[in-house]
Each structure stands twice: as structure tokens, then as C-alpha cells.
């Protein structure tokens, strides 16, 4: 019973982390290797607001953290990626370099050790089916479900959300219908970064803000997206449940060290068996040589 509860929590954590990555990839076709860096940036900014400006209310600090992160994401596209759009090698190198610059810059700037923590929203815990779950994790589950619902509504009932789907399905046709490809890409990066920041605000109170988390988040996000099919949103949810439960099971029966091995093995098996991922049907022909 415990395993199921923790498995669900872990799966929702994973999907929260990877939603931003998949959103950016599906719309702008940019593999955002700076995803983990944006995650940490948001946590660090919120911490800065809370710690440096005494008396700053926590909700405001969170809003500021997420807001600035999303502006950073939009600026990355507007000033850098837009100039190298379509050159795949340059896109990968540039986002990777930006991510590294942010992460290692933060490490150099003093983001080391255990002093950087965000407070939990509510302290305390509750007993669910024999597993003790603290309130923060409950909030994560709630917020995760809410995010899925909002994203679903957003992509189906708002104009910009529909534009997103249009661009994701067929960029040329969407452009012919008057959807500005660059503009949607900027917005997608902003929203993707905001999602990364949102995940960070929810998840970081459970641990410390450390640079290594940035790398782990990037890797888990990529693993989830590859298994679900790059750019497929339904795939993200299914894949995060697969990896989430696989991780919890290995942690319970083998050792906690193998979490990343699980992610990589899952990627390798997916690439061998069904390279386009679980839900990547639409792009299947494109990706196989």
C-alpha cells in the first residue's frame, strides 16, 4: 500500500518536472537543455526574495520567482535561439551551454551546501492507507492534477493554446493560417520555464536547493519525454507513471542509488523497442532513419 501511495506521488512529481520540457519541444522543436537550470533559477530567486528582503511574503516571492524565470526563458528564445532556429546542432549546443552557464554560475556564486532551503507551505503529515504523507506532498499531487487540467483546458479552449497545437502538428499549415511561429515559440518557452519554476517551488521545499538537482531534473525530464514520445503530452503522464513506479520499486527492493540507472535503462529500452515512445505515433516515420 505504501508503495502505491509513494509511487503515485513520485509519478506526479516526475510529470510536473517534465511538462515544461515537453511543452517547449512539442511547440518550438527546441530541445531545451536549459530546463534544469531554469528549475534551479526559480528556486534560487524565490529563496533570494525570502532571505534577502526580510518580510517579503512567501506567495509574492513565489510569484516573483516564477515570473522572472519565465521572462528569462522568453529572453533565451528572443535573443539567442531565434537566430539559430532550425540549425539543430547549434540549438542543442546553445541551450546546453546556457543551462551549464546558469548552473555553474550559481554554483560559483555560492549555491553550495545545505543552507538553501525553501520553507514548506504547511508542515505536518497525514496518514493515507498506512503511509505517512506530509502536507507538502499532498499539495504536490493536488497542484499536479490541477496543472494537467489547466493545460488541457488551455490548449483546447484558448486561442493561444489552439495556436500551440496547430504549430505542434504542422508548422507550415499553421503559419499559412496566420499563426506567428516565432511568437508562439517565445510564449511556449515562457510557459515552459514557468512550469519548470512552478515545479521547483513545489518540489524544492522537500530538499535543499543544490546545483546537482538541476542536472537530475533535466535527465528525469528527458527520460520521461523520450519514453512518452518526444512532444506528446499524454505520453508524459503515462511515462512518468511508469518511471515513477519503477523508481519506487527499485528504491524499495534494491537501492536508492539506482534511480538514475532506471531512467537511463528505460530510455535505452524505449529506443531499442519503440523509438518514438509510447504515444509518439504521429512522428514515428520522421524519427527512424
Amino acid at each position: 500500500m505504501e508503495l502505491i501511495v509513494y509511487g503515485i506521488i513520485n509519478s506526479i512529481t516526475l510529470s510536473l518536472v517534465s511538462l515544461g520540457f515537453t511543452l517547449v519541444y512539442s511547440i518550438s522543436r527546441v530541445p531545451n537543455f536549459a530546463h534544469g537550470a531554469l528549475y534551479i533559477t526559480s528556486g534560487y530567486l524565490t529563496w533570494t526574495f525570502l532571505d534577502k528582503f526580510a518580510g517579503f511574503p512567501y506567495p509574492l516571492a513565489i510569484l516573483a520567482g516564477i515570473g522572472i524565470t519565465s521572462i528569462v526563458g522568453a529572453m533565451i528564445y528572443q535573443f539567442i535561439l531565434v537566430r539559430i532556429r532550425g540549425m539543430e546542432i547549434s540549438e542543442i549546443i546553445a541551450t546546453y551551454a546556457i543551462g551549464l552557464a546558469i548552473l555553474e554560475g550559481l554554483r560559483w556564486g555560492g549555491l553550495r551546501g545545505m543552507t538553501f532551503t525553501l520553507p514548506a507551505f504547511f508542515t505536518g503529515s497525514v496518514n493515507i492507507l498506512g503511509a505517512s504523507v506530509d502536507y507538502q506532498r499532498l499539495i504536490i499531487v493536488g497542484a499536479g492534477l490541477l496543472t494537467f487540467a489547466l493545460l488541457y483546458l488551455f490548449t483546447r479552449y484558448t486561442k493561444i493554446g489552439l495556436a500551440f497545437r496547430g504549430i505542434a502538428q504542422d508548422e507550415r499549415a499553421a503559419m499559412m493560417l496566420g499563426i506567428n511561429s516565432d511568437m508562439t515559440a517565445v510564449v511556449s518557452l515562457a510557459i515552459g520555464s514557468a512550469l519548470a519554476g512552478f515545479a521547483a517551488i513545489l518540489l524544492l521545499p522537500l530538499g535543499n536547493i543544490v546545483v546537482e538537482t538541476g542536472y537530475n531534473v533535466l535527465i528525469f525530464a528527458i527520460a520521461v519525454c523520450v519514453i512518452g514520445g518526444l512532444g506528446s503530452w499524454g505520453g508524459v503522464i503515462v511515462a512518468s507513471f511508469i518511471i515513477g513506479f519503477a523508481q519506487i520499486l527499485t528504491e524499495a527492493f534494491i537501492s536508492a542509488h539506482y534511480q538514475m540507472v532506471v531512467a537511463l535503462l528505460a530510455i535505452i529500452i524505449t529506443l531499442l523497442v519503440k523509438p518514438s515512445g509510447i504515444f509518439g505515433k504521429q512522428k514515428e516515420l520522421e524519427e527512424r532513419v
Binding site: I92, A97, L100, I219, H257, E287
Partner: protein
């Protein structure tokens, strides 16, 4: 007004068979190459009285090898390898195992480590080779991090302490010239390789894999060859570095080995191979000067790298080539 670029007369003539006509034209063709070769060979003597910088020469050449491997994979085969550290780590650990655990001498352990490391790297990268897109970048990004974690967690190969006690090189000049000569051999060898039949097919794979496939050539097999060649170079660099430091540890999987080659290629000029080496010759000494800054060096590389990609994507080498072969003048339109 418009800038007009015209080939120098010398270039026009030396492109044909007339090159052997006069000493001046031979010099025009051979000059830059000879300058590079002679300059590299002379380096250990130039820094005779600066032992610290003499060691930097070795590392510089090792990075140049990694940069050549990255340039080859990215700009001739179309595979972006974000984890050069994977190659150095595997090569280094193999060298350590052969040398320390099996007791092989250094002149056997380095070549053996190079070959077996290349085979292992190719094997690990196999699953993503039949695919297009970003999968190769993703998988190579993950492997170095993964191997670090596994070695730490399982405490194999000496765990966090690494394997110590590798043989050093018998004398310092052998140490310098082994890597300098091999760097030169690989540099000019790769330039030939990409113009052989295999190399031409590989370029075809990068530009249009469908047409290569339509010609009855197995794309996956070509990519396996390319990855083997690149990891061969990378594993040699790793084995050499392990013997140079007489130590193989998880820092062989460090980020430096991934990002400096990428930065060198972008700064030096992608697709020229020489540019990759020249980029490494610029960046590695710079990184030694900036050693006091710690991880801030990586930030500097990344910013310079992004700047070059966005604003000067041709790189230094192609710029220099243009200046060497052509002259420019303003003309009225």
C-alpha cells in the same frame, strides 16, 4: 558600396597542378600546415624552463583530440555528442585496469585501452544510432553522469578515490611527443578520412540520410563506423590523461571534458578539424590562467560559446582561411 571578395591569384593557380611550378606557390600551400606542425613540435622546447606550462601542452593536445572527435561527429556525421567525458572516462578506466590490475606495461595498456574503450563506447551508444533527432545528444549527455553515480554507489574501481598507481611515462620528452605526434597524426589523418569514400558517405548521412539509404548503404552501419572512430580518438585521450596523472578517477567523467571540446569547435570553426584543434590551443591555456576562478571557467566558456554560435558562427579558422585565400575591397554598385 558593396564588399567584394576575390581569390588571390596564387590560390587560383595553386588549386590546379601548377602548384609545383614555383617555390613560392609550394610555400603558399604548405606554409600554414608546416607552421602548425613545426610550432607544435617546438612547443616543449619553448617552454623548457616553465615546467608547469609544459604539462599544459600535454593536456592541450589531449583536448585537441577530443575536439577533433567532436567536430568529426557533429559536422561530418551530424551526431551531437554532449558527453566527451564519456570517452575519456571509459578510456582512462580501461588504461588503469590494464596497467594496475593486469600489470601490462604502458606501451600496451594505452593502445589496448583505446581499442577496447572504443568498442565499449560504440556498444553503449548503439541503441540511438538508427534514430534521427536529438536522441544521440540526450544519451551522450546522460552517460557520464550515470557512470559517475554507478561508480560512487557501487564503490567499484576504487570508488570515489579512483585507481591510483598507474605507470608514468619513462621520460618527459616521450610524454610530450607521444601526444603531440599522435594529435598531428589524427588531425591530418581525419582530414584525409573525411575525403575518402567512407567520409563522403558519412557526410551524405549528415545532409540527407534518405538518399544514402536509397543508394543501398546501411546508414546505421556508417554511423557505427563514425562513432567507433570518434570514440577511438576520445578513448586514446582518456587513456593518455590517466597515465599522465597516474590516476583514474571519477573526475575523468567531469564536465570539463564535455564542454571544452564543444567550445573549442565552435570558437575554432566547425567542420574544419584544424579549427577544432586551434580552438583547444586557445581555450586550454586560457583555462589554466583562469584556474583561480574554479567553476566560473565553465560559465566563461559557455558565454563565449553562445556568443560565437549566435554572432560569429563561422569561427576563427574559416575567417582566417578567407583572409588567407581572398582579398576584399569595396566596390560601387
Amino acid at each position: 558600396m558593396r564588399k567584394e571578395r576575390i581569390d588571390r591569384g596564387l590560390k587560383v593557380r595553386t588549386e590546379g597542378i601548377y602548384a609545383i611550378n614555383s617555390a613560392r606557390e609550394i610555400l603558399y600551400l604548405m606554409g600554414p600546415r608546416l607552421l602548425l606542425i613545426a610550432g607544435l613540435l617546438a612547443l616543449p622546447f619553448v617552454f623548457e624552463f616553465a615546467p608547469y606550462w609544459k604539462r599544459v601542452i600535454n593536456i592541450m593536445c589531449a583536448y585537441a583530440l577530443l575536439a577533433i572527435a567532436f567536430d568529426f561527429l557533429a559536422n561530418y556525421v551530424g551526431l551531437v555528442c554532449l558527453g566527451g567525458a564519456f570517452f575519456t572516462g571509459i578510456g582512462g578506466y580501461f588504461a588503469a585496469i590494464y596497467n594496475v590490475n593486469l600489470g601490462l606495461p604502458i606501451y600496451l595498456s594505452i593502445p589496448l585501452a583505446t581499442v577496447s574503450g572504443a568498442l565499449l563506447c560504440t556498444f553503449f551508444l548503439l541503441p540511438c544510432l538508427p534514430l534521427r533527432g536529438v536522441y544521440f545528444a540526450i544519451v551522450t549527455l546522460m552517460y557520464p553522469l550515470l557512470f559517475t553515480r554507478i561508480i560512487e554507489a557501487l564503490d567499484i574501481f576504487g570508488g570515489t578515490n579512483g585507481i591510483t598507481g598507474l605507470d608514468s611515462f619513462p621520460n618527459p620528452y616521450l610524454e610530450h611527443y607521444a601526444i603531440i605526434i599522435i594529435a598531428l597524426v589524427f588531425l591530418f589523418g581525419m582530414r584525409r578520412f573525411v575525403n575518402q569514400d567512407v567520409g563522403l558517405v558519412l557526410r551524405g548521412v549528415k545532409d540527407n540520410d534518405q538518399s544514402v539509404k536509397a543508394s543501398g548503404i546501411n546508414v546505421t552501419r556508417m554511423r557505427i563506423i563514425a562513432v567507433f572512430v570518434a570514440s577511438f580518438i576520445g578513448c586514446f585521450a582518456g587513456a593518455y590523461i590517466a597515465h599522465l596523472y597516474m590516476w583514474a578517477g571519477i573526475s575523468l567523467f567531469a564536465l570539463d571534458f564535455s564542454i571544452i571540446p564543444i567550445a573549442s569547435v565552435v570558437i575554432g570553426g566547425g567542420g574544419t578539424l584544424v579549427g577544432a584543434a586551434i580552438g583547444a590551443f586557445i581555450l586550454v591555456p586560457l583555462s589554466e590562467i583562469l584556474r583561480a576562478f574554479g567553476t566560473f571557467r565553465i560559465v566563461i566558456y559557455c558565454i563565449v560559446l553562445t556568443g560565437f554560435i549566435v554572432f560569429k558562427s563561422e569561427g576563427i579558422m574559416i575567417y582566417l582561411q578567407r583572409k588567407y585565400h581572398q582579398f576584399e575591397r569595396w566596390v560601387k554598385v
